[in-house]
């Protein structure tokens, strides 16, 4: 009887574990799922009075502008700026040449990329215990490693890295007095943030999708 009872408990328990482990809650499984589009606007801003816009022909590198080095890739500036211009035009704005016509507002686009590092101290180090006797060999291997992860047999630590990027779009109204001289007031802004993983084509496609989303969630921008 005890055998049957014990076996039953084991079987039912095993069933629980299988069911439990098999339905682990969802997590991010693609770079596009890290994309976030944040938009904000100045309360009380009248978007109907700004019909003409101008926009510089390059994306400002925030890190470089602040005096630091940057890895911002300007290869796709033209496509990104064209997409932004297209979205503004679709809701009634007209782009003018600031050299000949004073625009009602200015669109400023800036970007930044950041390398993020995470160190996991809880990594199951016992799997590397065998390397202890081959210290010299491991040292050689580590010096030639070229991947984005490094494993240290003498410490239970693994380091992973990923690159994230943010694109800022600002609509600046020069007619609104700034709080301090030399500043400008943004009446609408968008921040597009996400993990920069995948091919350039994929990343560019995600940026285009997110630019479209920024305008879709800002219906008040329309001049109509």
């Amino acid at each position: 009887m005890r055998m049957k009872s014990g076996g039953l408990r084991f079987c039912v328990g095993a069933l629980f574990v299988v069911l439990w482990a098999g339905c682990y809650p969802g997590e991010i499984d693609s770079a596009s799922q890290t994309d976030v589009v944040l938009t904000f606007h100045k309360i009380g801003a009248d978007f109907k009075v700004n019909n003409t816009l101008s926009m510089p022909d390059s994306i400002v590198d925030i890190s470089k502008a602040a005096g630091a080095s940057s890895s911002l890739d300007h290869q796709y500036d033209a496509q990104i700026l064209a997409k932004i211009q297209q979205q503004f035009q679709a809701i009634g704005y007209t782009f003018v040449n600031p050299a000949t016509t004073k625009p009602d507002a200015v669109v400023l686009v800036a970007g930044i990329t950041v390398d993020n590092y995470q160190a996991w101290a809880g990594y199951p180090w016992w799997g590397y215990w065998g390397w202890w006797g081959s210290w010299g060999y491991w040292g050689y291997s580590a010096s030639s490693a070229g991947s984005s992860s490094w494993y240290y047999p003498w410490s239970p630590v693994v380091v992973t890295s990923y690159k994230s990027g943010t694109l800022f779009i600002n609509l600046v109204d020069p007619d609104i007095p700034p709080p301090q001289a030399g500043q400008a007031v943004s009446i609408w802004g968008a921040a597009l943030n996400g993990m920069l993983e995948g091919t350039s084509t994929e990343i560019l496609s995600r940026i285009a999708t997110n630019i479209t989303q920024a305008f879709a969630q800002s219906p008040y921008l329309s001049t109509q």
Binding site: F16, L19, D35, L38, I43, P124, G194
Partner: protein, 200 residues
């Protein structure tokens, strides 16, 4: 973390054996706990949850019992949505989670005859620890809080046949209501537990 959860589950499975030699007025149950979020909890996560565990001890006396119950329900939802606050709008894929842990005292009344299927009614009360988390993009927003709560429940138990007369399958439906605590509004969900009990 994923490795630790099944290990903890296996450890819990060993516990029924501990009570084997303690007399037949004790009931020890282990359940697979599912949950359907309601009201405020449903506003946060709406998916039905198949992820949870229950562990229960009851001291039987005639047609009544009192005891202690530990429960865990993990409710989650993945959605692509736009959240609005004041003059800001945020769009992205959101992963939302509620992990609810409870430590509850219980009282039950049993109907029917010993040896056959027996419905029972009961109420549990005690404390809930509720952890709510939202992952959106590369960002995380979370809060956690302790709540006082109450949980009425209905259930029935079916004894196994043959030489397993001290083992039984049982199922319960429980309404969990955790009162508001701090900035967290009241939370509620309906649990459906399926499991088995040993009586010693």
């Amino acid at each position: 973390m994923r490795i630790r959860i099944p290990i903890a589950a296996l450890a819990l499975l060993l516990l029924p054996g501990v009570v084997v030699a303690q007399g037949r007025s004790k009931w020890f149950g282990l359940t697979w706990s599912m949950a359907s979020p309601m009201q405020n909890s449903k506003d946060f996560v709406s998916d039905y949850s198949f992820r949870g565990l229950g562990l229960e001890w009851r001291q039987l006396s005639g047609t009544t019992s009192f005891g202690l119950a530990l429960n865990w329900n993990a409710m989650n939802e993945e959605s692509f949505r736009t959240s609005t606050a004041d003059q800001a709008d945020l769009t992205g894929t959101q992963f939302r989670y509620i992990n609810a842990y409870s430590i509850l005292l219980s009282g039950h009344k049993y109907l029917g005859q010993a040896g056959g299927p027996r419905p029972f009614i009961g109420v549990k009360t005690g404390t809930y620890y509720i952890d709510r988390r939202t992952d959106v993009g590369l960002w995380r927003i979370s809060d956690n809080s302790w709540h006082f709560g109450v949980a009425p429940e209905l259930g029935f138990t079916v004894p196994m046949a043959g030489n397993l007369q001290y083992e039984s399958f049982y199922t319960t439906v429980r309404y969990n209501y955790a009162l508001a605590a701090g900035d967290v509004p009241y939370q509620s969900w309906l649990s459906v537990d399926i499991g088995f009990a040993v009586r010693r």
